[in-house]
Amino acid sequence: VKDGLFVGYLTSRETAPRIGLGHSQGSMRAAGWNRIPLIRMNNVSLQPGKGSLDDLIGDTKDGVYMETNRSWSIDQLRYNFQFGCELAYEIKNGKRGRMLRNPTYQGITPEFWGSCDAVCGPEEWTLWGTPNCGKGQPGQTAATGHGASPARFRNVKVGVTNAKR
C-alpha cells in the first residue's frame, strides 16, 4: 500500500504473470522439508510516520489506547475483523486515564484503515510478529514479522463482547 492506494500483491513465479509482473517477488515459503511452498507473508509492516506516542495521546480528546494483542478473528475475504487486547486505557482530553479490562475492537478492513489519521514516528517503531501463522493443507506454521508504530483510528467500534456467563 502506497499513499493509501493498494498497489501490489505477494507473488510467486506461478502467479506473478497473472497480474502482469515480469518476475516473482519471492513470497513462497515452506515450513519444512515435508511441506510444499505456499505464498505467504514474511514481514508485512506499517511504515512509521511522525511524533511520539505521548504526542499522539496528547492530541486525542476522547479515545481508548490499547496494548498487546491477545485474540484475533477475520472473515475469509478479510473484511470483518475483531481483535482483543491485554489491556487498555481511557484517553480523555489528551491524558491517559483509568485502565480498561478485556478491550476489544471490531471493524471492516478498508473502512478501518481509511480512518487512520496518525502514525507515530520511527522512534516508536517496533518489529512485532507472530510465531504461529497457520496456513495450508496439510497445515504449516510459520513466523511472521509485523513492524509498527502506534497509530490512531477514528470512529472504531470498541467493547464488542458484552456477554454474560
Binding site: 477475520i74 472473515d75 475483531q82 471490531q106 497445515g139 464488542v160 456477554a163 456467563r165
Partner: protein
C-alpha cells in the same frame, strides 16, 4: 507403519543404550496422504511417511529431559539417548512420579485395510467425480480428501502410537482415519460440507457433495440482517466449533490452579440441563488412542451431565497431589500442558434440523463457524464468523441466504439456551448434534 514387533524392536534397542535409572520411549508417526483441489482441478497430491522416536530419561537426582529423532538405526538411537541424558544433566529436578510399572501389555488396532489401500489414484478418481458434479452445476469446487495411518498429525506433529519404558511397559495403538471437506463457490455465495471417520466408507462423498452444492445455490444473492440476539439453528459443525473451547477447561491441574473456566464449579451447573458431554475413546464412531502420555489406560468420562460439571481429567501427578485417581489423560512428559479429554461426544436428541426449522418463527440457520477465537477465557466468550451457507428462517421455512455475521458469545451461556437437539453425527473431530438455541449474540455483519 511399523508393526507391534517392529515397534517393540525400536523401543528395546533404544532402552539398551540408556544408563539412566528410568527411560521411556515414544514411537510416533505413520502416513498422511492428502489430495487438494481448487478452481475445479487437483493442484496438490502429497504423502508423508515419517517416524519419530522420542526418549525421556530420569536421572538419579530426578533431573529429566526428552530428546527426539527420526532415525531408527542403532547409531541414531544411541545418539538420541545421549542427547536426552545430556539435556537432563542441565535440567531442574522433576516432581514427576516414578514411571509406570510394566504389567500387562495394551495393544489395540483399528485399521481398515480398504482405507489403507485407498491410494493417490483412488483419491484422484473420487475428487474428479466431485469436481464434475460441481462443474455440472456451474459452480467451483475446492477442498481436500485425506487418509491417514498411525498418529501423524495435520501440522507435521508425529504424536505417539507406541510407548515402552525401562520397567517393562508396552502400549500400542494403530488406526486408519479419513477426513474430507468441500467448499463450493458461486459469484456471491458458497456452500460447505465435511466429515471424518476411521474408514473411507464412512465418507458418503456423493451426499456431501450434493449438500455443499445445494447450500451454495440456496444462499445466492445474500441480503443483510441486523445483528443482535437471534434464535439460531446451528448445524453440527458450528456446534463443534463452540464445544472445542470448553475442552481445555477439564484438566485437573488447570482446575485446581484456579485458571480454568471450570475452577470452583465441580458438582455445580456450568451450562443448561440439556447439555451433556462425554469423553470416550472406545466409542466406535470416534476411535481414539486408549492410553495417555505416560501409558496409563484412558478412562471413559462423563464430563458434563445435565449441565453439571461431573468429572475432571487427571494426569498421574495431579491426581497424586489431589488425592484422587488418575484418569489416563496426562500429557507426554515433561510438559507445560495440563492434558485434557479426547474423543468428545456431545449428547443429542431426536429433532431433525428440518423439524427445528419448522418450529422456528424467525431465526438464522448456520452451516459452520470460522476463525473462532477465545476472547475471554473465564466466561469462554468466543468470537468468529458464519460462512458457507447462512440462511434466514421465517415462519418455519428457509426463505433466503443472508450475509455472514460475526458472533460474540459465551459458550457456557449459549448452552443454557438450548431448545432442541438432533441426533449426533461425526463432525469436526467429535460426535455432535445440531442445536437450536435462543438469544445467540451476533455483534456485526460483513460485506458478503
Amino acid at each position: 507403519m511399523p508393526s507391534v514387533e517392529q515397534s517393540k524392536d525400536i523401543i528395546q534397542r533404544t532402552l539398551k543404550f540408556s544408563s539412566a535409572p528410568e527411560t521411556e520411549v515414544h514411537v510416533g508417526g505413520g502416513r498422511f496422504s492428502l489430495t487438494r483441489f481448487a478452481n475445479n482441478e487437483i493442484h496438490q497430491n502429497v504423502e508423508e511417511r515419517n517416524l519419530e522416536i522420542s526418549v525421556r530419561v530420569v536421572l538419579e537426582d530426578k533431573r529429566t529431559a526428552r530428546a527426539t529423532t527420526n532415525r531408527q538405526d542403532d547409531a541414531g538411537l544411541k545418539k538420541v539417548v545421549e542427547q536426552a541424558i545430556a539435556a537432563a544433566k542441565i535440567s531442574k529436578p522433576s516432581k514427576a512420579l516414578p514411571m509406570l510399572e510394566g504389567g500387562k501389555e495394551q495393544i489395540s488396532r483399528h485399521v481398515d485395510e480398504k482405507t489403507e489401500a485407498f491410494g493417490a489414484m483412488d483419491r484422484a478418481k473420487a475428487v474428479v467425480d466431485i469436481i464434475a458434479a460441481c462443474k455440472k452445476a456451474g459452480l467451483t469446487a475446492a477442498g481436500q480428501l485425506t487418509t491417514k495411518r498411525g498418529s501423524i498429525g495435520n501440522y507435521g506433529d508425529m504424536g505417539t502410537y507406541a510407548i515402552g519404558n525401562s520397567k517393562g511397559l508396552f502400549r500400542f495403538h494403530d488406526e486408519t482415519s479419513t477426513d474430507f471437506s468441500l467448499t463450493v463457490m458461486d459469484e456471491n455465495s458458497s456452500g460447505w460440507s465435511s466429515s471424518f471417520g476411521s474408514r473411507i466408507s464412512d465418507l458418503d462423498l456423493a451426499a456431501l457433495t450434493e449438500r455443499a452444492i445445494e447450500k451454495c445455490k440456496a444462499s445466492r444473492n445474500p441480503e443483510p440482517v441486523k445483528p443482535g440476539g437471534w434464535t439460531v439453528i446451528l448445524e453440527p459443525a458450528a456446534v463443534a466449533s463452540l464445544v472445542w473451547f470448553l475442552s481445555g477447561g477439564f484438566a485437573g491441574r488447570s482446575y485446581h490452579s484456579g485458571n480454568s473456566w471450570s475452577s470452583g464449579f465441580l458438582g455445580k451447573s456450568v451450562t443448561g440441563p440439556k447439555f451433556e458431554l462425554l469423553s470416550d475413546p472406545y466409542d466406535p464412531r470416534n476411535i481414539g488412542r486408549p492410553f495417555d502420555g505416560e501409558g496409563l489406560k484412558t478412562q471413559r468420562l462423563s464430563l458434563i451431565e445435565k449441565g453439571i460439571l461431573k468429572s475432571l481429567t487427571y494426569s498421574r501427578l495431579t491426581a497424586s497431589k489431589q488425592g484422587t485417581k488418575a484418569t489416563g489423560h496426562g500429557p507426554r512428559l515433561p510438559s507445560s500442558w495440563a492434558g485434557g479429554p479426547s474423543s468428545l461426544i456431545v449428547g443429542g436428541g431426536k429433532k431433525s434440523v428440518e423439524e427445528m426449522i419448522k418450529s422456528t418463527e424467525r431465526g438464522i440457520l448456520v452451516t459452520r463457524f470460522w476463525y473462532n477465537r477465545l476472547v475471554e477465557p473465564r466466561r469462554v466468550v468466543v468470537t468468529g464468523m458464519t460462512r458457507d451457507g447462512t440462511f434466514l428462517v421465517e415462519k418455519g421455512k428457509v426463505t433466503k441466504g443472508i450475509r455472514n455475521l460475526r458472533y460474540n458469545q459465551s459458550v457456557l451461556e449459549a448452552f443454557k439456551n438450548i431448545v432442541e437437539l438432533s441426533a449426533p453425527i461425526r463432525s469436526e473431530g467429535m460426535i455432535v448434534p445440531a442445536m437450536k438455541l435462543n438469544n445467540f449474540n451476533f455483534s456485526s455483519v460483513t460485506k458478503f
